[in-house]
């Protein structure tokens, strides 16, 4: 023991040999109070975290009322979680008729199955998983939720809302904005000037205009171009809007990856006999996209949050549904609880995306290093 301690004064070895309290003390000394500057910084961080906890915890936990039939049952000064419990199904399904909720439940189950298939590395057949997410799931979701076939009653899309609607917008946006973005990125580098100008024009238009303006313009202007009497479906509009608007951002991210690829990769693919599309699909895009995973995830998270803007076309997504909930006379004044929970759900989804992205980046890094 003494000999080992003499030979090795590497921190890891020393830490491993010390007892638990000593280990904690050592870790504190090294990582938190290594110098007076570190100590000061640590202290400031602890104070800030403490202040946040100090204001939120009493409201959210200690003074909260957990079950209530109306706002009047809740103690003042604390959260009234009875509101969230009472409105939970509205938060999840929107105004979808209660008797038909097995339909959105099936969609949720299919979505979870598809995501698991796509994301768990050990399950084979990723190509089919992609096909399922991009073709089967959208069609099944629409047919099942809308109904009108096989004896299913029609549920018009203005009844869909809450988490269901947010997921429809986010998943379709995420699945389709990257492929379309890749196409725009290729178009932006095309040798055909008309294609190039069209793509540049589209990308720069989307980047120059706020999403909310695009939605507004679409809902106000489209009826002028459609045959009289036809009104655009707000949900279809929102889905198309999100896909193309975010595709413009994806295009710029992918373009960065394309620029980082050496010319030799194109030449090697061409020399084998691959034409333009096969070269892009099998050789260039897979490499370009790997190089820009953080940028793609960044855009994806901002897409997720942009879905909340669909309230301007009259849709009740997970965020907007809170306003429907507090319109109930029993629960007037419960915004804080509603937005707190909705914020938490959005944060969880974004954080999940970040974690997933870090996992795949780690996988690529290992493949590159090994």
């Amino acid at each position: 023991m003494t000999e080992a301690a003499l030979i090795s004064d590497t921190p890891r070895r020393a830490t491993a040999m010390a007892s638990a309290p000593a280990r904690i003390a050592l870790w504190l000394r090294r990582r938190i109070f290594a110098s007076w500057r570190d100590a000061l910084l640590s202290l400031v961080v602890v104070l800030i975290l403490g202040a946040i906890a100090w204001t939120i915890l009493p409201w959210a936990l200690f003074k909260a009322t957990w079950s209530a039939a109306s706002r009047a049952d809740c103690a003042p000064g604390g959260a009234c979680w009875g509101f969230v419990a009472a409105k939970a199904s509205q938060f999840i399904y929107g105004f979808y008729p209660p008797l038909e909720r097995w339909r959105p439940d099936t969609v949720f189950a299919l979505l979870i199955a598809g995501l698991t298939w796509l994301m768990v590395p050990r399950i084979p057949g990723k190509g089919y998983a992609g096909l399922f997410m991009m073709v089967v799931l959208p069609v099944v979701t629409f047919v099942l939720l809308h109904g009108g076939v096989a004896g299913l009653p029609v549920v018009p899309s203005d009844k869909w809302g809450g988490l269901l609607l947010t997921l429809i917008l986010a998943v379709s946006g995420i699945s389709f904005s990257l492929p379309f973005g890749a196409l725009f990125a290729l178009g932006r580098r095309s040798r055909m000037p008309l294609v190039r100008w069209l793509c540049i024009g589209f990308i720069e238009f989307c980047r120059g205009v706020p999403f909310i303006t695009v939605l507004f313009m679409a809902i106000v202007m489209l009826p002028f171009f459609l045959p009289s009497g036809m009104k655009p479906d707000p949900l279809a509009l929102a889905v198309a809007g999100i896909i193309f608007y975010e595709a413009a951002y994806m295009a710029e991210v992918v373009r960065g990856g394309l620029q980082a690829l050496p010319k030799g990769q194109y030449e090697a693919a061409m020399a084998i006999g691959f034409g333009y599309w096969r070269t892009m699909l099998y050789i260039i895009l897979p490499q370009a996209i790997r190089k820009v995973v953080p940028g793609i995830v960044n855009t994806t998270i901002s897409l997720l949050k942009n879905t909340t803007l669909v309230m301007v076309v009259g849709l009740f997504d997970l965020l907007n549904i809170v306003s429907a909930g507090v319109a109930d006379p029993l629960w007037v004044g419960s915004q804080a609880e509603g937005y707190f929970v909705v914020g938490l759900v959005f944060w969880l989804m974004s954080f999940g995306l970040s974690c997933y992205s870090r996992a795949i980046e780690g996988g690529f890094a290992r493949a590159d290093r090994a």
Binding site: P262, G264, Q265, E267, A268, A269, M270, A271, I272, G273, F274, G275, R278, Y282, I283, P286, Q287, R290, A367, D368, A370
Partner: protein, 245 residues
């Protein structure tokens, strides 16, 4: 006389104002091994890149197996499948395993079933002496191994002709031999080859003819012995002096 498999007739090429190929006239018969050498910047790479349409040429004509090479024509992809190319910088696909580097072309272009493509790939990897590395990724291999994979990848398309553009110039000296050995073995199978290289030993061992390029034109053509021991032009004499030392 039998038809040449590759024929360049009076080929001219410019890089904007710069006349990089000047009236190249030259043909290669089935099974011939040609070594192309010449000073840096003399247009060797440009010439062999014109043969599979990676570069565009402005004057004259190039045919491969009787088919005209012209960029922008759908035909070019068919021609490229019959002309294998090995680059100085290997250009393996880093996101694919060694095996997938070899099977991608056969599966997608020759429509081979995966099992057949993998069997063929393994056979080729054995032939270039890296059968046991099939599951690795390109950046896990040394330069010499990568270049041998690149040769196997080109052979997987079962080409009629192989083009090499300075395949050993980017390698550390100790790896040059392993790549040249593979090329010599390939020459022994009767493959038609055009190699841009300054390796005189290789040229003497396999070349039927040595083509010496200078300043965008073919300055001299001869057997390796005649060319290296008794060059006819002054430029070739200087060049050989430099390569030997």
């Amino acid at each position: 006389m039998e038809n040449p498999i590759i024929r360049l007739e009076n080929v001219d090429k410019w890089f904007s104002q710069f006349h990089v190929l000047r009236g190249i006239d030259f043909s290669v018969k089935q099974g011939e091994r040609i070594v192309v050498c010449g000073p840096s910047g003399s247009g060797k790479s440009t010439m062999i890149r014109c043969i599979n349409g990676l570069e565009h040429y402005e004057g004259g004509r190039i045919t491969v197996g009787g088919e005209l090479v012209s960029q922008g024509d759908d035909n070019i992809e068919k021609i490229r499948q019959r002309v294998g190319m090995v680059f100085q910088s290997f250009n393996l696909f880093p996101h694919l395993s060694i095996l997938d580097n070899l099977t991608l072309g056969p599966i997608k272009l020759r429509r081979l079933p995966r099992a057949a493509a993998e069997a063929q790939a393994m056979e080729l990897l054995e032939r270039v002496h890296i059968g046991h590395q099939a599951r690795k990724f390109p950046n896990q291999l040394s330069g010499g191994q990568q270049q041998r994979v690149a040769i196997a990848r080109a052979l997987a398309m079962e080409p009629d002709v192989m083009l090499f553009d300075e395949p050993t110039s980017a390698l550390d000296p100790e790896m040059v031999k392993e790549v040249l050995d593979v090329m010599i073995e390939l020459a022994g199978t009767g493959m038609t080859m055009i190699c841009v290289t300054h390796e005189m030993g290789f040229a003497r061992a396999v070349a039927d003819r040595v083509v010496f390029m200078d300043n965008g034109a073919i300055a001299e053509v001869g057997t390796p012995d005649a060319f290296f021991s008794a060059p006819r032009t002054e430029r070739a004499r200087q060049f050989i002096q430099q390569v030997i030392h």
